[in-house]
């Protein structure tokens, strides 16, 4: 039933091309999403009323609506007001905006969980707000946010498959195309599935090792 030649000769080459696209998608989106998340979280907690509300609205929208709709709006709807994205860039933009919102919530929670005494001590030494946030609050908050943000990173790796829905052919897309052409859905998607499982497992392991390394000595 499972045709090994098919898998080797017909399936794998396009799939590997798809993997390449997936990798490009996530390498661009993950760091940018994190940085955006940090900015939004800091803006939300320390910004004035206007900035804080802006960040709140942004977060509510991007966490309250499906990623797929966000992608559709970016790729299919924005052209009607003159903004054009390539499929790849539409996907990347959507991923950055969406994961930025999720990251910001984890980071915001982490910032708020840091005792007010830390900020007080920093200010008592004469640090300005900005310095205190940069040197005292964020280093601790980011460490606390690692479990949540790692979770979000894994999510993004899986949801990168939605890029196919705006015609960017990554791993899942490549699989669907081959499967449709040869009517071999089960085999194709089992292979695709295995590749995702591998990537997710490896990245999960890597992230939990990173978490251990970055732990503050002595703290639970």
């Amino acid at each position: 039933m499972i045709d090994l030649y098919f898998i080797q000769d017909v399936l794998l080459p396009p799939l590997l091309e798809g993997v390449l696209v997936t990798v490009k998608l996530i390498i661009l989106s993950i760091p940018s999403g994190l940085i955006l998340g940090i900015l939004i979280a800091v803006g939300r907690v320390y910004g004035n009323k206007f900035i804080s509300s802006l960040c709140a609205v942004y977060t509510i929208f991007f966490r309250g609506t499906p990623l797929l709709i966000q992608l559709f709006i970016i790729y299919y709807a924005l052209p009607s007001i003159g903004i054009f994205f390539s499929p790849f860039m539409a996907a990347v933009t959507g991923f950055i905006l969406c994961s930025g919102a999720y990251h910001s919530e984890y980071i915001r929670g982490a910032i708020q969980s840091i005792k007010t005494g830390q900020m007080m001590a920093a200010e008592a030494l004469g640090m300005s707000r900005i310095k205190a946030v940069l040197y005292i609050i964020l280093p601790q908050a980011l460490r606390r946010a690692i479990p949540g943000c790692s979770n979000e990173i894994i999510y993004l790796i899986k949801y990168s498959s939605l890029a196919f829905m705006v015609t960017c052919v990554e791993l899942t897309g490549a699989g669907k195309i081959i499967a449709t052409r040869h009517f071999r859905y089960t085999e194709v998607f089992m292979v695709v599935g295995i590749i995702y499982l591998l990537v997710v497992s490896i990245v999960t392991k890597f992230l939990s090792m990173a978490e251990k390394k970055l732990k503050i000595p002595g703290l639970g």
Partner: protein, 257 residues
């Protein structure tokens, strides 16, 4: 004589209200160079708030603060400049959890004063030696005992070369057997001429170190005077009552420990 007895800190008519409660109702006092003022009083009398009003971590509703002749409240200058000259030690230590002891002490020099990293490290190490913790320099706050944490926090404040040190119940969060080491450090500071304001429950310490003791209750100064006068012959009934309760609880003086 004029130099040695100059007024370092002056606090005038400080008022502070939190929601419905008036926590401070017109506090005024002066601290001269080298003096140690100890503030005592029941919990909730506003003592911690008072200290925070001095370095403007809490902004008073009314009143003024002067540091070495310059007004701190209502100033055009950045408050950060003044805070560098006022060292504060908190009841909960508030060490920066993500850096080790040495890092905690040097960060003010590096990030606030802009000192060169190597020089800052040297000075920080010196300061840690002064409080007896050079062996613990590379340990993190979570790995230190309460008494060690507080001593690091004192070093952190001292290394900035402040004109006045503010202590907010420095030993209240410590286990009894650790109190002694911290009081020892503070006492040495006093002996070496540091200008200090100390809020504390430690009566024995107050007796042996203070130049003047101020008793605050319900946001007002009820009594003030030399330790001898306050502890042996207080003017007011409330002072007597408070001291009686406190010495029941805390008993021993520093020497007796």
């Amino acid at each position: 004589m004029h130099e040695d007895n100059k007024i370092i800190l002056k606090v005038e008519e400080i008022y502070k209200r939190y929601r419905k409660e008036e926590v401070l109702r017109g506090i005024s006092f002066e601290v001269r160079k080298g003096e140690t003022k100890v503030i005592i009083g029941p919990s909730g009398s506003g003592k911690s708030t008072l200290l925070r009003c001095i370095n403007q971590l809490t902004i008073p509703d009314k009143g003024q603060v002067w540091l070495e002749g310059e007004e701190v409240t209502h100033t055009k200058k950045s408050i950060n400049q003044f805070r560098q000259k006022m060292g504060m030690v908190f009841q909960d230590f508030n060490l920066f959890d993500h850096i080790n002891a040495l890092g905690n002490v040097e960060i003010g020099l590096i990030r606030v004063k802009g000192m060169d990293k190597n020089r800052a490290r040297e000075k920080a190490m010196e300061e840690l030696k002064q409080v007896g913790l050079e062996k613990q320099a590379y340990l993190y706050p979570a790995q230190l005992s309460g008494g060690q944490k507080q001593r690091v926090s004192i070093a952190r404040a001292l290394v900035m070369n402040p004109s006045v040190m503010l202590f907010d119940e420095p030993t209240s969060a410590l286990d009894p057997e650790l109190i002694g080491e911290v009081l020892e450090v503070i006492k040495n500071l006093a002996i070496n001429g540091m200008t200090m304001v100390v809020v504390t429950h430690e009566m024995g310490f107050a007796r042996s170190v203070a130049n003047e003791v101020i008793f605050i209750e319900s946001g007002r100064i009820i009594d003030q005077g030399s330790p001898y006068k306050l502890f042996t012959n207080p003017e007011h009934e409330r002072t007597k009552k408070f001291l009686y309760r406190i010495t029941e609880l805390y008993g021993k003086s520093v020497e007796e420990r």
